[in-house]
């Protein structure tokens, strides 16, 4: 899941207008941002799930540090403290929650490849409900997140512009449309596996 995370962040922005959108978008992608260098360094890895052709939802992702339950909690707290402090305690908590929402959404779609402890230290059973086994259903869930999130964001942006007495609502319409179209593009590219 990529696009769905950003849809959720857009929905949160609609409820929390004081926080810049980029902070919430960064927060929702935080665990994957940290995953990239660990993947390149060989500390975390990706493989194709047995019996599945390469494509959307076909992966087993061994992100044993960034996507472990404890690791995700600690990394979310870290981001909230570092990024959210300047907007106050509520903002910091919200950024933590959005960062951790990544783990929750991944829990739904991932196969059982998410450990509880970093590095799966205790060799406890790994977590994941495996919605990716039904790619069409997973894509529909992502689509719902994108549409709901971008719609909530667009409405909130439009209402904010009206409240501020702006004569033109165009910036709100452009921002809302962009979030929706970017989400649809990313989901399409992900689903069709068009980029490596």
């Amino acid at each position: 899941m990529i696009a769905g995370h950003f849809g959720l962040a857009a929905a949160v922005k609609a409820r929390e207008p004081r926080l810049p959108l980029w902070t919430l978008m960064l927060a929702t992608a935080w665990l994957d941002i940290l995953f990239v260098p660990l993947l390149l360094a060989g500390r975390e890895s990706i493989e194709n799930a047995p019996g599945f052709a390469p494509g959307y939802g076909s992966l087993l992702i061994h992100a044993d540090y960034t996507h472990s339950l404890l690791g995700a909690v600690l990394l979310s707290i870290l981001l909230g403290v570092v990024l959210g402090w300047r907007w106050g305690r509520r903002a910091a908590l919200l950024i933590m929650a959005v960062a951790f929402s990544h783990w929750v959404l991944d829990l739904v779609v991932h196969r059982a490849d998410m450990p509880i402890l970093p590095g799966n230290a205790a060799h406890w059973p790994e977590l994941g409900f495996g919605l990716w086994r039904i790619p069409a259903l997973s894509a529909v869930a992502e689509l719902a997140l994108i549409v709901a999130g971008s719609t909530a964001y667009w409405r909130a942006a439009r209402d904010a512009a009206i409240r501020a007495g702006r004569s033109s609502l165009m910036p709100a319409h452009v921002s809302g449309a962009f979030v929706l179209l970017a989400g649809l593009l990313v989901l399409f590219l992900d689903f069709e596996h068009l980029l490596p």
Binding site: L21, R163, F178
Partner: protein, 33 residues
């Protein structure tokens, strides 16, 4: 690559577009100061 593209689109471009929205009205901003 899809993830990197998504980061660029959502964090950078959407972030810039969002900054043009008057989320906090000028009066309220003055109050907060």
């Amino acid at each position: 690559m899809t993830f990197i593209l998504a980061l660029i689109l959502f964090v950078l471009v959407a972030g810039v577009l969002d900054a043009r929205i008057p989320w906090v009205s000028d009066g309220k901003r003055e109050q907060e100061r």
